[in-house]
Structure formats: structure tokens, C-alpha cells
């Protein structure tokens, strides 16, 4: 196996070296000159991405060395290979996909409902003085409640099912969106609003022409916070009562002493959380370019 591997590796570089010796430097040179700053920017982004991977790689290496050297016992910290094996095992049993999918579904549902409600409430309280005076004390008191305090009530009222979990995530997603939109609307540049009013804009037209576009960047940072909160609340909900999902995998593995699966679940949460955040980040960058 290792001999095959070695010969395979030695064969590939020799062929690329051959290419490089003949035509590759010329085309490479022409390429950079032609692409100019665009290629430079893409190259910079790629190198930033690569630099960002240095620390995770070092951690992985340290993890591998500390377990391989016997510094940690496998019951304390299993090796990267055994965590990978645990993943393969769970995939073969058909459980990993279920855990990941149900968790993602709960997060997305809760996030969508929560941020939608957050947008509505934030717009209402941010734009209407009367709604602001009437409702803001109540809403900020509710925000002060530590979110896990809702769990017993949700379980009693809704029961241990999907709805109570999604509701908890909804609560978690609601407040960041509400708060950023509410504050954003309160702080829309008064000069811009006044200028628009001077040109006869009011009501819905003022809202859609000035106030909403002005808060789009703030709204997106609220959405990103809400998404992070959603994952937080997901794990809380699943740790407390569930039979599926990554939170369940965590608590179940704790009871069975499967540290490898616990680490697998943590890594999956990190990777999925980072991925969803990155997707939203792309949307945010587009929105900021468009509206700010």
C-alpha cells in the first residue's frame, strides 16, 4: 500500500515538472499580466483563506501527536483517526445524516420564523412612536429573561416534540434581528429623512425609499447573530429532551462514554455553523455593496 502510494506520488510530480519545463512558465506569466488586479485580488483572497487554515492544521497535528504519543488516553481524548472512524460508523448505520438533517431543519425553521417576527416587531417599534412607547418596556424585559428559562414552560405547554424545539430556537433568533432592526431604524440619518420629507416623501414611500434601505446592512448583521444564536439554542433544546439531532448525539454519547462521538458532534456543529454563517456572510457582503 505504502509502496504504491510512494510510486504514485513520484510519478505525478515528474510529469508536472515536464510540463513546467516546456510551456507552463510562459502561459503562467501571460496569465497574470492579462488578469491584472482581478487575478491579484483573487490570489490575495485565496492566500488569506490558506493562512486561515494554518491554525486548524496545527491543532489537528497537535491532537494527532498528543494521542499517538499516549499523552492522552483514548478514553480522555480519542485520536483523529478514531473520530473519523466513528463518523464512518455512524454514516454506515445511517444515523449521522439523520442527526445532521434534523438539527439543520430545526435551526432553519426557527431561524426563519424568528427573524421574520424580529423584522416585523423591529420595524413596528422602530417606526411607530406609539408602538415604541407601549411595547418597548415589555419587549426589553422579555429579552432580559435568560432564554433557557423558557424551556420548562415550553415543555409543559407544547410538549417534548419538534414544536417546542423550534419555538425555543425562534425565541433565540428573534431578539438579535429585532434589536438590530429596531436600533437601526431609530438611528437612520435624520438629515436624509428630512431631505426626503422636504421632497414630499412620506409614509410608505419614505419607508421604502429611505428608511428600509438605510437599515439593510444592520439587518444583515442582526441575521448573522440570529443564526449563531439559533445553533446555540438548538443544542440547548436537544440536550434537554430529544431522540435525534446533534445535541442528542452529544448527550447520548456522554451517557455511553463515547468521547469520539462527542468530538465528532462538536466538529460537525463547528463546520455546519461556520458554513451557514459564511453563506449568510456572502449575502451580507452583497447587500452592503448594494445598499451602503
Amino acid at each position: 500500500m505504502s509502496a504504491d502510494h510512494l510510486t504514485g506520488r513520484s510519478a505525478v510530480p515528474s510529469s508536472t515538472q515536464g510540463l513546467a519545463a516546456t510551456g507552463s512558465p510562459v502561459t503562467g506569466d501571460g496569465d497574470t499580466r492579462e488578469r491584472g488586479p482581478v487575478g491579484g485580488r483573487a490570489g490575495k483572497r485565496a492566500s488569506v483563506l490558506l493562512l486561515g487554515l494554518i491554525v486548524p492544521t496545527l491543532i489537528l497535528l497537535a491532537w494527532h501527536l498528543s494521542t499517538a504519543s499516549g499523552f492522552f488516553r483514548p478514553s480522555q481524548l480519542p485520536s483523529p483517526v478514531s473520530v473519523f472512524a466513528a463518523a464512518v460508523d455512524l454514516i454506515e448505520r445511517g444515523q449521522l445524516a439523520t442527526h445532521v438533517l434534523i438539527s439543520t431543519q430545526r435551526v432553519l425553521l426557527g431561524f426563519l420564523i424568528g427573524s421574520l417576527l424580529g423584522v416585523v416587531a423591529g420595524a413596528l417599534l422602530g417606526l411607530s412612536r406609539i408602538a415604541d412607547i407601549l411595547l418597548t418596556p415589555t419587549v426589553s424585559a422579555l429579552r432580559a429573561v435568560p432564554s433557557l428559562a423558557w424551556v420548562p414552560l415550553l415543555v409543559l405547554w407544547i410538549g417534548i416534540n419538534e414544536d417546542s424545539k423550534v419555538t425555543l430556537i425562534t425565541i433565540g433568533a428573534f431578539f438579535p434581528v429585532f434589536t438590530t432592526l429596531y436600533l437601526g431604524l431609530r438611528h437612520v440619518d435624520r438629515n436624509l429623512v428630512e431631505a426626503a420629507r422636504a421632497f414630499g416623501l412620506n409614509g410608505v414611500r419614505l419607508l421604502t425609499t429611505v428608511q428600509l434601505p438605510a437599515v439593510v446592512p444592520a439587518l444583515f448583521s442582526g441575521l448573522r447573530l440570529a443564526l449563531a444564536q439559533s445553533w446555540l439554542f438548538l443544542v440547548a433544546a436537544e440536550l434537554i429532551a430529544s431522540s435525534m439531532g446533534l445535541g442528542f448525539l452529544l448527550i447520548d454519547s456522554q451517557q455511553n462514554g463515547r468521547v469520539d462521538r462527542i468530538i465528532l458532534a462538536i466538529i460537525l456543529l463547528a463546520v455546519i455553523g461556520k458554513t451557514t454563517d459564511a453563506l449568510l456572510g456572502i449575502a451580507e457582503r452583497w447587500a452592503v455593496r448594494r445598499w451602503a
Binding site: N191, L192, E194, A195, A196, R197, A198, F199, G200, L201, N202, T209, V210, P213, R290, W291, A292
Partner: protein, 270 residues
């Protein structure tokens, strides 16, 4: 910049210039226990088509006076009449350009100018009007640019075009050139005179620059206290500016007037 301004060209008809009358205008700010009178008993008649410069020290209520005419502020006493009818709320007959451009950053210059169009204008006529105005202020090549992609002077010209898009009977300018560098300011002043010659609307120009007032105005209204213990500003002086525009910046009679206006504003020895 001025070539497109040939009188009698294909420009759509502007509403005729409208007269403005401030009648016993008073305005104070603050709570009932701590009231600060800013304006009291301001009565001025501005003739249709006239350029009136409003001069005064900082905080004397120049902008408040202008905002009352625009309907952006409600006076405590007295009223503003435009063409004989009182201003109630935002007035369609006025258009304002502020000291800052106040453009919407997410719109192109073209879309920003279009904000100024009267509600009644049709889409195609409106678009043509916007493009014509951008050409008038020399920004037709920048129609699709965003405000942050152009200089401060260009943004201010866009703001002026937005005000003109309204076909205003009264053009209200609140220190529109105050934040510009000296060269750009002179160019903008010339542009304003060109526009006024082609479309003689009534202009109220708030400024703290005596030379600007002397260059542009038919008459200069100095706002200030008549006595030091006066509670608020009122008409301290209302003087016609001699000579026809464009005026030489070095004329002797303007020099005399400049000295007297400056001393009126508390600056002596110039």
C-alpha cells in the same frame, strides 16, 4: 456647463417664480421653563424672481427662517405666505438644497435627482428632465455613479439638480456652498447665476459669506438683534446690492457695503 442654458430652448415650462412673504414670524426652542427665542417678528417681502441672501451670525436663526418657508418647521407665531397662500406642512412649491448634499448613498446620481421630481410628472418626462438637469450641472457623464464615487462638489451639484427637478416656484438654499473649497464655490455660484438667468425662480439663499451674498443677491437680509438685550433675531437690515450681475468682485461700492455688512455682523477693521 452653461452651454445648454440657451433661453427659449426645449426646456419644459417652469412654474413661474413666486413671491414669498414672512409675516410677523416668531420661533423659540426649548422647554417652557427654559425658552430661547430665536426669531421674533420677522416681516419681509421677497419679490417673485428675486435672489435674497440671508446673512447672519452663527445660530441667529437663518436656517430656521428657511425651514419655515419649506414647511419643515412650524413657527410659533406669524406665518409664511407663498404667492399669497400660507405654508402648511411640506410645500410642493418649494425645493430645498441643504449644506450637505444629503443624497441617498444606495442610489445613482440620476435616481437621486429623480427624488426631486414632482409627484405628477410622468415616468418618461421625468427621466428626460433628470438627464437634462444632470447635463445642466455638468454631471451627465456621472449619471450612473453612486454619491460616494464622486467629489463633494459634484454631490452638491447633484443636490442642486434634485432641487431644480421640482420646478420650484421658490428655491431655498441653506448654505449650499458652505462646505466646498474656494474654487468649487466660485464655480457653483456662477452655475447658480446661470440657472437663475435661464429659469428666473425666486431664491432664498442662507449664507454666512458676505462676499457670496454680494455676488449673488439682489437684496441682502441681515438677521440679528437690534439691541444686545433683544430676546431674538429679527430683520436687522435689508439692503439692496448695487450693480447688475455678474458683478466684479472688486467693485468699490461693493467694498463699502462689505465693510458695513461685516461690522453689522460684528467684524470690524475690514
Amino acid at each position: 456647463m452653461t452651454a445648454v442654458l440657451a433661453p427659449g430652448s426645449t426646456q419644459p415650462h417652469h412654474k413661474q417664480a413666486l413671491g414669498v412673504r414672512f409675516s410677523g414670524l416668531g420661533r423659540s426652542f426649548g422647554s417652557s421653563t427654559d425658552r430661547r427665542v430665536v426669531l421674533r417678528d420677522v416681516t419681509v417681502d421677497v419679490k417673485p424672481g428675486e435672489i435674497l441672501a440671508i446673512l447672519g451670525t452663527s445660530g441667529c436663526g437663518k436656517s430656521t427662517l428657511l425651514r419655515a418657508a419649506a414647511g419643515l418647521d412650524v413657527p410659533d407665531s406669524g406665518e409664511v405666505l407663498i404667492d399669497g397662500t400660507p405654508v402648511r406642512g411640506i410645500d410642493e412649491r418649494c425645493a430645498v438644497a441643504f449644506q450637505e448634499p444629503r443624497l441617498l448613498p444606495w442610489h445613482t446620481l440620476q435616481a437621486n435627482v429623480a427624488i426631486g421630481l414632482p409627484k405628477s410628472s410622468s415616468a418618461s418626462a421625468g427621466k428626460a428632465k433628470v438627464l437634462e438637469l444632470l447635463k445642466l450641472v455638468g454631471l451627465d457623464a456621472f449619471a450612473k455613479h453612486r454619491p460616494r464615487e464622486v467629489s463633494g462638489g459634484m454631490a452638491q451639484r447633484t443636490s442642486l439638480a434634485r432641487a431644480l427637478a421640482r420646478n420650484p416656484g421658490v428655491l431655498l438654499l441653506d448654505e449650499p456652498f458652505g462646505a466646498l473649497d474656494a474654487l468649487t464655490r466660485i464655480k457653483m455660484q456662477d452655475l447658480l447665476l446661470d440657472i437663475h438667468r435661464a429659469q428666473p425662480t425666486t431664491v432664498l439663499l442662507v449664507t454666512h459669506d458676505v462676499d457670496e451674498a454680494l455676488q449673488l443677491a439682489d437684496r441682502i437680509l441681515v438677521l440679528g438683534r437690534r439691541d444686545d438685550d433683544d430676546p431674538g433675531s429679527t430683520v436687522a437690515e435689508l439692503v439692496p446690492v448695487p450693480g447688475t450681475r455678474p458683478r466684479s468682485r472688486n467693485a468699490a461700492d461693493l467694498g463699502m457695503l462689505r465693510s458695513s455688512l461685516l461690522s453689522r455682523l460684528g467684524v470690524t477693521g475690514h
